[in-house]
């Protein structure tokens, strides 16, 4: 559209999409995490665990749709290159989410195969998380591009690094899930969640360390960005804050700072990892090939969608908050289905 408006919408959209993906990771992250922990929990706790996420899980998954479609709308070139490149992780993730969602609904309704669906819920959560982690790993390692197309094979994504990031995310979502359970439950179950949370935290911190070493070693540009002067000084708060929050997270899981503290600390760790990745790649969206601006859709498309988004996003946030607020507090056993 030749509107003559010289207003660069790319940064606004980058912020919105980044926020959307972050919300998704937090929200579906904790319910996928709860799903994985569910499989490890004692039988008598399982129903309560399920009830902590029952009212919110499908709302959480809609953020995934929104993030995906917004990526298509605002950075179509990135969408057209990245998604085919992670064909099988996306397939795995989708099948796992489908299976998990169905298992969630069915386990209460088909008691005679309850075990099948309840295992399915746990395994589906794990597989979906692992697949999302490998997508992240594949993104960090970059894609082979020719013109406007992904030029590699559908198996390029599978590397030791992407397997590592896959496992890392499983620990990460596990940590979020444990934090959520600490908020929503009491007594023995809460103590158990704190214990599992600590194991997840160790996994997360180990993975963060390995990734932080691996990325600059394998990609000189990233090393340059972080370790050259004066970047080193500006960016130093990121690793320092990470260390502080990691420490706080451990303390919180031991009982410091109230029931919400473990979840908030886990959020902080996710935010910092996210920032770290963003700093490493800015302003590229297809690493090594296209910047955010080169991959962006036309101004007209961005503007058309932005009008509605600025109008609707606050409303969405409002009623998402409302629906969480309605189900606030410790999970009540008298919340019945319907």
């Amino acid at each position: 559209m030749d509107s003559g408006v010289i207003l660069d919408l790319v940064p606004i959209w980058t912020a919105i999409i980044a926020l959307g993906i972050f919300f998704y990771v937090l929200l579906d992250g904790f319910d996928l995490g709860v799903g994985m922990l569910y499989g490890l929990a004692a039988e008598e706790h399982r129903t309560t665990i399920m009830n902590t996420i029952a009212p919110v899980w499908d709302g959480n998954e809609t953020w995934l749709i929104l993030g995906t479609v917004a990526l298509l709308a605002v950075f179509p070139l990135a969408f057209a290159i990245i998604i085919p490149a992670v064909y099988f992780p996306v397939l795995l993730m989708l099948l796992a989410l489908v299976f998990r969602g169905v298992a969630f609904e069915f386990q209460f309704r088909q008691p005679w195969i309850y075990r099948f669906w309840s295992n399915g819920f746990c395994i589906g959560s794990g597989v979906a998380t692992f697949a999302q982690g490998t997508v992240l790993g594949a993104f960090i390692q970059g894609f082979k591009v020719d013109g406007r197309n992904f030029a590699g094979t559908s198996w390029d994504w599978l590397t030791p690094f992407s397997v590592l990031t896959g496992l890392a995310l499983m620990f990460g979502y596990g940590l979020l899930g444990a934090g959520w359970l600490v908020i929503k439950t009491e007594g023995a179950l809460q103590a158990w969640a704190r214990r599992v949370g600590r194991i997840c935290l160790i996994g997360v911190l180990t993975a963060m360390l390995v990734v932080s070493v691996w990325m600059p070693l394998s990609t000189p540009d990233i090393a340059q960005r972080w370790f050259s002067w004066p970047n080193l000084a500006f960016l130093a708060p990121v690793p320092i804050l990470t260390t502080v929050i990691a420490f706080a997270s451990w303390r919180a899981l031991l009982g410091w700072g109230g029931d919400a503290a473990p979840f908030l600390c886990a959020m902080g760790l996710f935010l910092l990892s996210y920032l770290g990745i963003a700093i490493s790649f800015w302003p590229m969206i297809v690493p090594g090939y296209f910047t955010l601006w080169q991959a962006a859709s036309t101004e007209g498309t961005q503007a058309f969608l932005l009008i509605g988004t600025l109008l609707l996003l606050p409303i969405i946030l409002m009623y998402t908050t409302w629906s969480y607020w309605v189900f606030r507090g410790k999970t009540r056993s008298d919340i019945s289905y319907y």
Binding site: M1, N51, A54, D58, G59, E61, T62, L64, I65, T68, V69, A70, L72, A73, P76, L77, A80, I83, P84, Y87, F88, V90, L91, L94, L95, V98, F99, R100, G101, V102, F104, E105, F108, R109, Q110, P111, N149, F150, T153, E186, S297, G300, T301, F304, L305, T309, L312, I316, Y319, T320, V326, F327, K330, R332, S333, D334, I335, S336, Y337, Y338
Partner: protein, 463 residues
């Protein structure tokens, strides 16, 4: 045999889409029905509406969850298998998909939690409000996604750059492209009719079984009243949609009618085996003039034949031809059922006529078949294009995919869906068998904070 990634990607699309579409075909109508029941309960305060609403909400929850999870798969298909298409058209159609996400999914998902779990946590009006929001959400969803679909059929409001990419010129023209109003009306009304027949069939079943008799009566009467309006309306909307297709997608219309030659007047072919290679129909049963009457609303009107287009621009004829006839045939059967129902009702014999109630049970799933048939008609009729007349399906697929990749993913989708959809159907059938009557006060209130899921108790107490 070589594995063709284009063909396999199409099969995969058909597989994930055909299953998915069955759910909105049901939930769009059911959400509105539940909102109506909640409204009746809110204003009249009679418990029967509450029981009916709770009964259908239980079924809605299952179908909606299946719709959400099978729906997440769809936007990813654009990226995984149709990345060329995504790159070419994203500037034009993707905002509509994003608007669907923004307006519909969130509305549905956020208020669904309240609708399903919140009856005792929010005031009565808020619960009714949540039911309305969920219903409106499903309609918004239909609006935007059918706009995208219609744009692929009758593209408008764009310009094409040298590299083959589409760019927006007028959003109004893009969203309200020529086939959109007709497609939207025909689809939503079709979804309503589909739900109407399910409600009718379930009501008839419960009545015949002799449990929940009063609830069953209300279901049958409500459905019959509703369908008396919507079945004729749907047929009229289909006719208008057909006229629109004649104007904007004449090759599709020619395939629907299996017309090879451009002629006037046009007969209506009741049955034939279309022979794509030989460009003719075998074993055709034609009714003279009827084609002209239906397609042009005059006795001597003509339509273009398929030979007007080169063979590589013609849709495959037999799927379009037969799917259309299945759809129209079902429409006529529905009209007969509804007319019979009203005939019996006026004579006061509706609930005494066992064979009619059985007929209602048998016709309950017909709407789904009609929806699928209509979908095949319009989508296969669009071939060989993804953007009608402008971008070929063969050029839309992701270039990195091998046939083996797609075969693998297709088999995985087949396996998971064959597990999940029959299980979903079984769950819903079980909910129907439980019926609405005994529900409300039989749930055991849970004391204190002892974590127990009431729904497990319910399963135990009925299972």
């Amino acid at each position: 045999m070589t594995l063709d990634p284009v063909f396999l990607s199409r099969m995969q699309w058909v597989w994930v889409m055909a299953w998915h579409i069955l759910l909105p075909a049901f939930t769009v109508g059911l959400a509105s029905y539940i909102a109506a029941l909640e409204g009746l309960f809110f204003f009249r305060r009679e418990d029967i509406w509450l029981r009916l609403s709770r009964f259908w909400i239980r079924i809605f929850a299952v179908s909606f969850a299946m719709g959400v999870v099978s729906g997440i798969v769809i936007p990813f298909q654009f990226g995984t298998n149709w990345s060329r298409f995504s790159d070419a058209v994203a500037n034009v159609v993707s905002p509509m998909m994003a608007y669907e996400g923004l307006m519909a999914f969130f509305l549905e998902a956020a208020f669904l939690g309240i609708l399903l779990f919140g009856r005792r946590l929010v005031p009565r009006w808020a619960h009714f409000f949540a039911a309305c929001m969920v219903a409106i959400g499903t309609l918004f969803s239909s609006f935007w996604i059918l706009s995208v679909n219609s744009w692929m059929q009758t593209p408008a409001g764009f310009e094409i750059e040298d590299d083959g990419r589409f760019f927006p010129v007028s959003w109004l023209a893009i969203v309200f492209n020529p086939s959109f109003p007709y497609r939207l009306a025909h689809n939503v009304s079709g979804f309503y009719v589909t739900t109407g027949f399910v409600v009718l069939g379930v009501g008839a079943y419960l009545f015949r079984r002799g449990s929940s008799v009063e609830e069953a009566r209300r279901m049958v009467l409500m459905a019959l009243g509703f369908l008396a309006l919507f079945v004729p309306l749907q047929i009229a909307l289909g006719d208008l949609h057909g006229l629109n297709t004649r104007d904007y997608q004449p090759a599709k219309l020619a395939a629907i009618e299996a017309r090879w030659e451009t002629t006037a007047p046009v007969p209506f072919t009741l049955f034939a085996i279309p022979d794509q290679q030989g460009e003719r129909n075998l074993y055709a049963i034609d009714i003279p003039y009827l084609g002209s009457l239906i397609l042009t609303h005059s006795l001597n009107g003509g339509i273009k034949g398929l030979k007007q287009w080169p063979p590589d621009e013609r849709p495959p004829v037999w799927p379009v031809f037969f799917a259309f006839r299945v759809m129209v045939g079902i429409g006529l059967v529905m009209l007969v059922v509804v007319s019979l129902g009203w005939f019996l009702r006026i004579r006061g014999q509706l609930f005494e006529t066992g064979w009619f109630l059985r007929l209602c049970q048998w016709t309950a799933p017909l709407g789904f078949v009609a929806v699928l048939a209509g979908w095949i008609t319009t989508e296969v009729g669009r071939q060989p294009w993804t953007v009608y007349g402008l971008m070929r399906t063969a050029q839309s697929v992701s270039p990195s995919l091998t046939g083996f990749d797609v075969l693998l993913s297709l088999l995985a989708y087949v396996a998971i869906y064959l597990l999940m959809f029959p299980a979903g159907l079984a769950v819903m059938a079980r909910l129907v068998r439980q019926g609405p009557a005994e529900d409300v006060e039989t749930r055991i209130p849970v004391e204190g904070l002892r974590p127990q899921a009431p729904f497990i108790q319910r399963s135990d107490s009925h299972g």
